[in-house]
Chain length 210, copies 6
């Protein structure tokens, strides 16, 4: 009797809430984006797998010029966090590895070292420099949009995880923004005070033209 | 003459603003959702009816085990408030009726008693208890996401209206979250310290399995 | 034994969380305001009373020219909802009573009729008119910042409650903004196309100068 | 060698970021709107032209009854600023020109005079009046949703640009909201205290009915 | 010469921006809180140390009844992330350890396993259950405000880091909210359907009264 | 009679609203800052002057190495827009003048050319380049946090106004962030791939050390 009537209540509550409840919005990567993120996959098609990302079990390939790799789990890679206000990335830095000077236009970041150590820091709008060496377990916060970097000065590979205050923080590596596209050398030189030879050298290395 | 020229102005202003003006975004319930709510019904199809909800003229059926009913006017029931940052629900509690311990994951709430009285309260993250008896006309605020409840300790039916700071506040009734689905008893017991017999009893009442 | 060790855990968890937990921010009305609201009363001084407002037990005095009264429970009157994203007000309209054309610059509103009936509506940026008669239990939403009004066309006092999507929605009654201050008549006439006699008449009624 | 490996890195970083990066959301004006704005044009179709608006080279036509014109570059006219939190409009006021009393329901505004001068001001929720004469180069801020106006009291055309804190601020001109639609005269008179003759006169001028 | 004039420019830019620039707002824990967080420490007193937290080098003490520990780096423990929209916590779970069923009222969470494994999951407002076993390197997202838990079912200590979409996410452990304070047993029983004996047993274990 | 009773209503409404109404929050620059901006000057002390800024009547001094000047009206210079979600700056560029490559960490920007012309553009996170020449009256939008620049390639001084989607957008000029402080040359070189000679040359010009 009790069971029956609570079932009725439950049904009523659930029947209305099934339609309306949207605690989450797993990204439908095939649909259009909006300023607030991707449109949502129908809730009925959502499973536990949508909320789990297993791409961090191995680090990225660090056999490259920066001896480092960034593996993002932003909304495009991990649709389950669409609209939920945060994301994460794995950083692998071989000895001597560097994540070059960069910004995230859309998020603040907390970095956590889980293996090895990192020398890292950021520069504020007032051009003040905040640099520290982080050991395993240490975290540092970089306020939104400011230039920052990570260097592995130790003798073994360092691994870190970066958490972001947005599912889509963006990543603008200063050197790539300047030298890895067709931005004319003349414009680069005028707006950075860099010498022509320096600009051309880096364009050559990074594949830029113009 | 004057009339003509102002008509021209009006037409100019209106012709641009008709396209751009979107003071509201009546939900198109057939379209996809986004992290900011439903997509909008075309403004040309919107009428005054879209902004009115008449489903609260009668209370919900309280002949159930909790002797109470919750009737939501969230965005899924009342498309006109999509994107507008608030919603509302009607609560009916027969004598002895209870809205069980629950949270709204996405909103703060103000409750207003319009008939009878309620004993109600919430528990903070610091585990502090804030309980009060509300008479007709009284309001209480429950901060976002915290456990709260309402009990009609009086001799006649109480009616209250709950306002929320989101068009889609969500509703998670602790007992239903634990005992009205297939969450394995072992996991429930380990994570709530409840006895196996208690868990099984409530699963039986609420229709849970596992 | 079990009890002891959980106490230890509890203590640890609580000791850190007592300092940090701020689920709410009861307004310290004596402190400065900020763009996000008032500064917070120290949590240790907060009691259940801070979350309850009893000023709506009686309606406001409607023996005035509009035959109506608005009683707000915004953050300044109800400090407990500071920072929580919503507020509420009680409206009493005697027969023939009117809440004159007005806007809330900082919030959308849902109105709920709990006694009598109301003729109410709003005008959009596209100058479209949305008017409806609401009966007891009906709700209507007015999107943020748009002109709206309420009229009691029935034979007995109507009572309604307005919920807002901000703890500090503001209230700008068009007539008071134009005629109840020292805004020069010449400026009013130029910016509203109203006749000089009309402006002076309303300034006289509403106490304006200039 | 170096070049090759950095290319690899670049490719990896770019290949993931091409899919995920959404620094902007150029409006697809053919798609549905959402509470956060229009859906986005596919990034691959976006060009520099999407971020530029050239419609302000000439002012609007001021040969009308208000001797003024408002030319908006909101998201519907300038799709590139969809989702970016701001917009802009050009104001031209011939001598004696007036932008009538109005509000922007969805944004604060900063006005900048680039030619001539303006007498301008706003009224607060407390009915306080803030009026100033602005010379070329001066700016004034009108807080969100409050009534404000601009008058060119000088002998030559004034030009100003208004910046808004939203890509879709809305624009509600009080006179048009009251007199340029089918809002019944009786309702206008009851909610504004205006005389019947005054209401009918303005309805006649502005093309209203009812 | 060049150097001199750029110094002048620099000085001008810096002199204005030194006062205005506030990329960050390191919490002044001695000042009042606001709905947006703590007031800011004067920028001139801020050093690199303010942006680094070293409290995660060692895990919390897990010799307690839940065989687990939560160590938060929220704004109260790590003032540098005040206002920056994210925070982080370390979780240590000995074999058999459990983080009991809980919610974070103010944030979504991403958990990252860095040692061992976890069985974890959450329940939605629609009472759907999403449970998964996470291995080292795996992440799972729990949408804001929903009940979730973590269990170490493996034979060695597991370590995880939880990232939150707020500097002050809150933490409400259901059992502590119900049984570790003075919430009257009668109210608990009426609002949870738990048996009196069960309530009293848990109150006894967790130190509750009433 | 009528006048008297409306005075009463007015008084009631005003007496409550005077205390509560806070349509604006003029910055008290002597008080602490918060994540949402400065604390507010008491409303009673606010005058029309607080909402007007006259510092743009003349442009900044462009006799410097960049032949350009940026004059901000952010919240620190123009307290009236504290908390209102936007700000503005004046840009003067003599012939050949350059606003070097920079970002605003906290805002999107719309630039408006009011005299002369500008070659300007930005680079996206995907390293795509969007460059255009703007004539008088043209506007361009730079999405939040992305690198952008302005160059006056014409023969006379250009003047532009930049509007921002925040009262405190920040300004990080890449060259100043790298070369105008004590960031060690070794770190700069490792994180930018610039040659040592280039770094030292620019440090010398911009006054950097280390």
């Amino acid at each position: 009797m009790i069971k029956l009537s609570i079932f009725l209540t439950l049904t009523l509550l659930i029947s209305t809430s099934t339609a309306s409840v949207q605690d989450f919005c797993v990204a439908d990567l095939t649909g259009p984006q909006t300023p607030s993120g991707y449109t949502c996959k129908p809730p009925a098609n959502v499973t536990a797998e949508d909320f789990v990302f297993t791409g961090f079990r191995k680090g990225g390939n660090t056999t490259n010029i920066i001896n480092a790799a960034v593996s993002p789990a932003f909304d495009a890679q991990f649709p389950g966090l669409n609209g939920l206000g945060l994301s994460i990335a794995r950083l692998d830095l071989a000895p001597g590895g560097v994540i070059p000077m960069h910004t995230h236009p859309g998020a603040s970041e907390v970095i956590l070292v889980v293996q090895g150590s990192l020398v890292t820091g950021f520069v504020s709008s007032a051009n003040a420099v905040y640099v520290k060496k982080l050991l395993k377990g240490d975290i540092m916060v970089y306020p939104q949009g400011l230039l920052h970097f990570q260097i592995n000065g130790g003798g073994k590979t360092s691994v870190a995880f970066a958490s972001f205050s947005s599912p889509n923080p963006g990543l603008q590596i200063t050197d790539f923004a300047l030298f890895a596209n067709n931005l004319p050398s003349m414009l680069i030189e005028k707006t950075t005070f860099l010498d022509d030879a320096q600009v051309k050298k880096l364009k050559s290395v990074l594949g830029g033209t113009g």
